[in-house]
């Protein structure tokens, strides 16, 4: 059942993607609105499908690749909708939505049937650890694209070139501010994610820290963002430096989330 609702939401996301891409070409406010509303519809239905799955399965559905990608996309869509209420970042939708759609299509290629939960995952820590980690990652996912956009716009201004579509880009200050917001929201989330993960590891594997590849990479990620946040607050790291660090941080998240699972392996092999 939940899988059908999931497909409906995917259809809305695809529809939204189409309109955001169209917006890039025609630059009409109405086109963007259609994209925005269908994104909102897609997100709501996606949320319902996730809740459905939770009820059907009886556990938080973030236990395999399909479920994680789906939840990750849900968090990204949610955070993007949240940001859109405060900032003029339509152009960002033109990048985020296609990636979101690809992510969901990719998710649907993994087995999606509900299976009994492996004993090692039966824990109260499952929802806390996964939700915090994924919401944090989703926030940094968005900041990754914000940073790329920042670097492009910044380079254009510095080199005194007129960029195509440059009238549609948010200002440097707005982009930097969004990055700062992402930092200050995302960092607590991944911190809680890592701490709860460690506590859970203490119960499940008998030791709080095992230097498992997943643990190591998430620590690296955490350190990157910690340095960034610290330097922002003390010596005023802004603009390009922030953007570069955000990109490095997100690449490290990618390795933690996908690289370790798909290529390296380790204790944390469910997702």
């Amino acid at each position: 059942m939940s899988i059908y609702i999931f497909y409906i939401s995917l259809a809305f996301y695809l529809f939204s993607t189409l309109f955001y891409l169209l917006y890039l070409v025609v630059y009409r406010k109405g086109v963007e609105r259609v994209g925005y509303y269908s994104l909102f519809a897609g997100f709501s239905i996606h949320l319902i499908s996730t809740l459905f799955r939770y009820i059907q399965a009886g556990y938080t559905p973030i236990t395999n690749i399909y479920e994680s990608l789906s939840f990750f996309a849900l968090a990204i869509a949610g955070f993007f909708l949240y940001l859109k209420r405060f900032y003029k970042i339509e152009i960002l939708g033109c990048i985020i939505l296609p990636v979101l759609s690809i992510m969901l299509i990719w998710a649907s290629t993994f087995p999606a049937e509900i299976r009994p939960l492996p004993p090692v995952l039966k824990s109260y820590w499952l929802p806390i650890h996964t939700i915090f980690s994924f919401v944090g990652n989703a926030i940094f996912f968005i900041s990754f694209f914000v940073s790329i956009l920042y670097l492009v716009v910044e380079r254009g201004i510095k080199k005194k070139r007129v960029l195509p579509f440059s009238g549609r880009f948010p200002s440097l200050e707005t982009l930097d501010l969004i990055n700062y917001r992402c930092m200050s929201y995302g960092f607590p989330f991944i911190t809680v994610g890592i701490i709860t993960g460690s506590i859970w590891a203490g119960f499940a594997w008998g030791s709080y820290w095992n230097w498992d590849p997943k643990e190591t990479w998430s620590l690296i990620t955490w350190i990157v963002y910690a340095i960034l946040l610290h330097n922002r607050l003390t010596i005023g790291w802004r603009g390009r430096k922030t953007a570069y660090m955000m990109i490095i941080g997100f690449l490290s998240i990618l390795i933690t989330f996908l690289g370790v699972n798909l290529f390296i392996g380790g204790l944390h092999s469910y997702v």
């Binding site: 007129v162 440097l172 200050e173 802004r238």
Partner: protein
């Protein structure tokens, strides 16, 4: 019935003559009144610093022209030969094509500038207020607004700014977004700074600091523009406070170098700083642009961007011309349709006459009546009349069979012109 435009613009007349013939808003009613007194009931007066034009509709142009000239010569103390030499006249399709071009900014000094459309709208509003537009000019002007809007949305003619000041503002916005909480430091108190500052001020900056080697001049400009005058030696300190720096001094050597900015950026905790150096020779060391979060544009950079935008506009203006041409032809066809059918013209004229006289009676009876109410009544009556005659007119247009025409002629009490009259009409 035909529309005529008579006027001059920046291409045909030098500024001395344009300023003589500038018709300020308070004097427009007088002029409209004078024209009415001479039998020109439909007229719109458009006067800006780059053009003065009178649009009117008239049956007998030979008679009207001398009248308009006379009125202009009398009211503005100008020599008759000026009007001969520096003015242009367009009739019919050429006239409204010209109006389309004017309203969409294609005839402006800076191609595509947006203010002119507002000015045309104001001119038309003024004319409606004094009841000097009728069926014909109403149609022409409404069509014009449509055309101008179409050009705005379908081409990018007004998309990018072209003046140095607006260029600087555009760039500031790319860096800071909205400017209303931002602070600017102005170094130098010359004319260049003043012009640019006036533009910046419109963006609602929170604080404007002005400094100059001769403090007195800074004080004066600060008074004019409500800024804060500061001594010249405070520049380093001010660099930690402001977001933008606009510089235009006569200094031979740079006043701000890389080391200074670098040390100030540390104090600013790297908050972005935007330098606009519009002085020649330059006031700010070009190396400054290499510092992170610092952006420096000198006068040549600004000019080059503005040149790019201007050439973009010219490219777009070709599209705009095509739209104007298309709309002018369409409008002519529409008018011809009206014109070839004297019955329709008759219907419009008849109901307009009824409407006018009935409205007058009511207004006289009511005595106390404010402008807004009068306007609403105008609109109300016009709408009612138009809605009632619309089905008749469209029936005539769609189904011109003798039976229908006959019936309509009877309903609207139309005598009909015979062949001879029709021929005369065409010649006139």
């Amino acid at each position: 019935m035909s529309i005529v435009v008579f006027g001059l613009n920046h291409n045909t007349a030098p500024v001395e003559i344009r300023e003589k013939l500038y018709i300020s808003e308070p004097t427009i009613p007088e002029l409209l009144h004078a024209l009415k007194g001479h039998g020109i009931h439909e007229a719109v007066v458009l006067s800006t610093c780059n053009r003065t034009e009178i649009y009117f509709s008239s049956e007998e142009q030979e008679k009207t022209f001398p009248i308009i000239r006379e009125i202009l010569e009398q009211s503005f103390e100008i020599k008759p030969e000026w009007l001969q030499e520096h003015t242009y006249t367009f009739h019919g399709e050429d006239a409204y094509r010209h109006l389309f071009l004017v309203a969409s900014g294609l005839d402006s000094m800076v191609v595509g500038e947006p203010q002119i459309l507002g000015q045309v709208k104001d001119a038309y509003r003024m004319a409606t207020l004094y009841n000097s537009t009728g069926f014909f000019l109403d149609r022409v002007f409404h069509k014009t607004f449509n055309v101008a809007k179409r050009i705005r949305t379908e081409t990018k003619i007004g998309y990018n700014p072209v003046s140095i000041s607006s260029m600087a503002i555009e760039l500031s916005k790319k860096i800071f977004g909205e400017l209303h909480q931002k602070r600017i430091l102005v170094i130098g108190a010359g004319e260049m700074c003043e012009i640019a500052l006036k533009h910046f001020k419109k963006e609602g900056l929170s604080e404007i600091f002005i400094t100059n080697r001769t403090f007195r001049h800074a004080q004066k400009l600060a008074e004019d523009i409500t800024g804060i005058p500061c001594p010249f030696i405070d520049i380093p300190d001010l660099l930690t406070k402001v977001d933008m720096v606009l510089s235009s001094t006569g200094s031979e050597k740079p006043i701000i170098d890389k080391e200074l900015v670098q040390s100030m950026m540390k104090k600013r905790k790297n908050r972005p700083l935007f330098f606009m150096d519009i002085a020649v020779p330059r006031d700010i060391d070009p190396e400054v642009n290499k510092i992170g979060n610092v952006y420096l544009y000198d006068i040549d950079d600004l000019k080059e961007l503005s040149q790019q935008h201007l050439s973009d506009r010219l490219k777009e203006s070709e599209k705009a011309y095509a739209i104007v041409e298309e709309e002018a032809v369409k409008f002519t066809r529409w008018l011809e349709q009206l014109d070839t059918n004297p019955l329709i013209t008759h219907i419009f004229e008849m109901v307009e006459e009824i409407r006018n006289s009935e409205l007058k009676k009511t207004v006289q009876k009511l005595k106390k009546i404010d402008e807004d109410t009068l306007k609403s009544m105008e609109i109300l009556t016009k709408t009612i009349v138009n809605k009632i005659i619309h089905p008749h007119v469209s029936l005539i247009k769609k189904n011109g069979s003798p039976e229908v025409l006959d019936m309509m002629k009877k309903i609207f009490n139309f005598e009909g012109e015979d062949e001879e009259d029709m021929d005369n009409r065409d010649e006139g």
